[in-house]
């Protein structure tokens, strides 16, 4: 063991390394980790405390019954208001606040907005009617001919 001093020092460093890992690990593992599953139990409370941004399907009906009546008889009946207008909880709380108002003129360019669901793609289910944006009356906003809340055209 006379010529093994360096090996002993190395071993000591390894031992110190492993022990400090164990100690540091105790400090680093969050307090509520693993109580319920492989995550921080406190995360649930934390997420719950976040403000709600979506109001839900029924919240808009009271004040916008005209739109919702129109929509409920159309092919867009199954699409929730917030799918197109974005989160609206703040607006439903306080409809007069201009900041919280959902956009009327949706994301530009609007043709692409409708195209997100309607552009031609073989991977879509056929019940979602599809058009080629380059062929289907190009350059004109869809809403010139289709009422968003009742998009069917009378033939």
């Amino acid at each position: 063991m006379k010529n093994a001093r360096h090996v002993l020092r190395l071993a000591a460093i390894l031992v110190v390394g492993v022990t400090s890992f164990i100690v540091v690990r105790r400090l680093l593992v969050p307090a509520t980790f693993g109580e319920i599953g492989h995550y921080r139990a406190a995360a649930i409370e934390q997420i719950k405390s976040k403000p709600v941004r979506h109001a839900g399907a029924d919240a808009c009906v009271d004040c916008h019954s005209d739109v919702s009546d129109l929509k409920s008889t159309s092919k867009h009946a199954g699409i929730h208001c917030e799918s197109c207008h974005g989160p609206g909880a703040a607006h439903a709380e306080d409809p007069d606040s201009a900041d919280a108002r959902p956009t009327r003129h949706l994301a530009q360019p609007r043709r692409l907005f409708c195209g997100a669901c309607h552009s031609e793609s073989i991977s879509r289910p056929p019940f979602m009617r599809q058009v080629h944006l380059e062929i289907h009356y190009p350059k004109q906003p869809c809403t010139d001919c289709h009422q968003s809340h009742h998009p069917e055209v009378e033939k």
């Binding site: 680093l28 360019p109 195209g115 991977s123």
Partner: protein
């Protein structure tokens, strides 16, 4: 309100798919960085296995490249987690994989596999191998550097023959542990890919073995290139012992290339013969988006050409200069071919939809966290690290005296 940028992006993505795919398949989740990760760990494992041939299996002809192979392995290992961190984002949370690992997840074991390989295998092996040099350097180098080496000696400057013999013994023991560890490190990467059920292109039990052999191929080729390049840089002719060294490296390169190529061919032939439900779409992909990177680069340039080259110089008695040129060119081609292979596995695997009726594509950006630039940086970084390591720990001293302690026989 809906973000117009998102809609634009979604719309662009839609244009890149063909056939029927599931919505979550539009965007490839594993980007070019995940191509680099198995490439880099492969180089680590391959270079280490080459080094261990000298150490454990006593292939003394390769002793001149032994230390360089070790340092190469170390340089690439230091960079190995970077593509993962860059891909996942939030490197500041990386420690969590060690602190709260999910023991049911093979991926979560990476931290431990990596730490084991880095600290217990490579760092220790390098340390024991270089201890004598470090002690000498700590006495001869000027001030600031001297302290660095002084710390590395751990305050013990005993380089008596008995101490060195002990170093050698421990070093060899570490290499013996190291070989299975290298196999573990890279076999593990293959295991991760092999166990992804959703992607038939990956999901085969051969995956770890295929990865392992391609790792050896790329690692050996990398050591060859780096060795030849560093000889050239230092103005040393590759003759005599050095020529013997590159000849031997080339021999192992050829053998592992043949095994690796056969395994990959076996897998493809089996897939073609089984012609399971996903095979038709695989053919579409092979004839289309993977034609260049797979058939041309990986199979032809990266495997068949080097195999013919290396095989030819083994049977035909050609001049040393021709041999050297062939070795250099073949190794570079192999390095490119293995990179293409990683690309074809990682990116190619994600092209095919689980519906087997559709294909998506991959758009590699230039800038950005997962773009071409960060990939290039991650590939160049190990070379820079290696340059620093070589400066700090010159691997040459014993290069011309293969009978030194580093090469095998302990001094007793």
């Amino acid at each position: 309100m809906i973000d117009s940028h998102l809609i634009n992006e979604f719309y662009e993505a839609l244009e890149r798919v063909s056939g029927y795919i599931y919505p979550n398949e539009i965007e490839l989740q594993w980007s070019v960085l995940i191509v680099l990760y198995p490439y880099i760990t492969g180089l680590v494992a391959g270079a280490f296995i080459l080094a261990s041939l000298v150490r454990v299996f006593k292939v003394d002809e390769m002793a001149p490249a032994y230390r360089l192979a070790l340092l190469t392995s170390l340089a690439f290992l230091l960079v190995a987690p970077m593509p993962l961190n860059a891909h996942l984002g939030h490197p500041e949370r990386a420690y969590e994989i060690l602190v709260t690992p999910n023991t049911n997840s093979a991926m979560a074991m990476f931290g431990f596999v990596y730490l084991w390989y880095l600290t217990i295998v490579l760092l220790l092996e390098v340390w024991f191998d270089y201890r004598k040099d470090i002690v000498i350097l700590s006495k001869t180098k000027p001030a600031p550097l001297r302290w660095f080496y002084k710390i590395l000696t751990l305050g013990v400057d005993d380089i008596s023959p008995r101490a060195l013999a002990l170093d050698d013994k421990i070093g060899r023991a570490i290499t013996v542990i190291g070989v299975p560890s290298a196999v573990l490190l890279h076999g593990y990467v293959g295991f991760i890919f092999g166990s992804i059920k959703a992607i038939p292109w990956w999901s085969t039990a051969l995956m770890p073995i295929i990865f392992l052999f391609s790792a050896m191929v790329s690692g050996i080729a990398a050591v060859m290139v780096i060795y030849m390049f560093s000889c050239w840089l230092r103005g040393e002719q590759i003759v005599g012992a050095r020529m013997k060294c590159v000849d031997t490296i080339a021999r192992y390169l050829l053998v592992s290339l043949i095994v690796s190529f056969s395994l990959e061919a076996l897998e493809m032939i089996q897939k073609a013969y089984e012609a399971e439900e996903h095979y038709d779409i695989t053919v579409v992909m092979l004839e289309g988006m993977l034609y260049l990177s797979m058939l041309v680069v990986q199979v032809f340039l990266g495997s068949i050409v080097p195999m013919i080259f290396l095989g030819f110089v083994r049977i035909a008695n050609v001049h040393e200069r021709v041999r050297k040129a062939v070795y250099a060119v073949s190794s570079l081609l192999i390095l490119l071919g293995v990179l293409a292979m990683r690309w074809n596995v990682v990116i190619g695997g994600q092209f095919v939809s689980k519906s087997f009726r559709g294909i998506t594509t991959y758009k590699l950006g230039i800038a950005g966290r997962e773009g071409l630039l960060s990939a290039a940086i991650i590939l160049i970084l190990p070379v820079l690290i290696l340059a620093v390591l070589v400066k700090l720990f010159p691997p040459w001293e014993s290069a011309d005296k293969p009978t030194e302690a580093t090469a095998g026989d302990p001094i007793s």
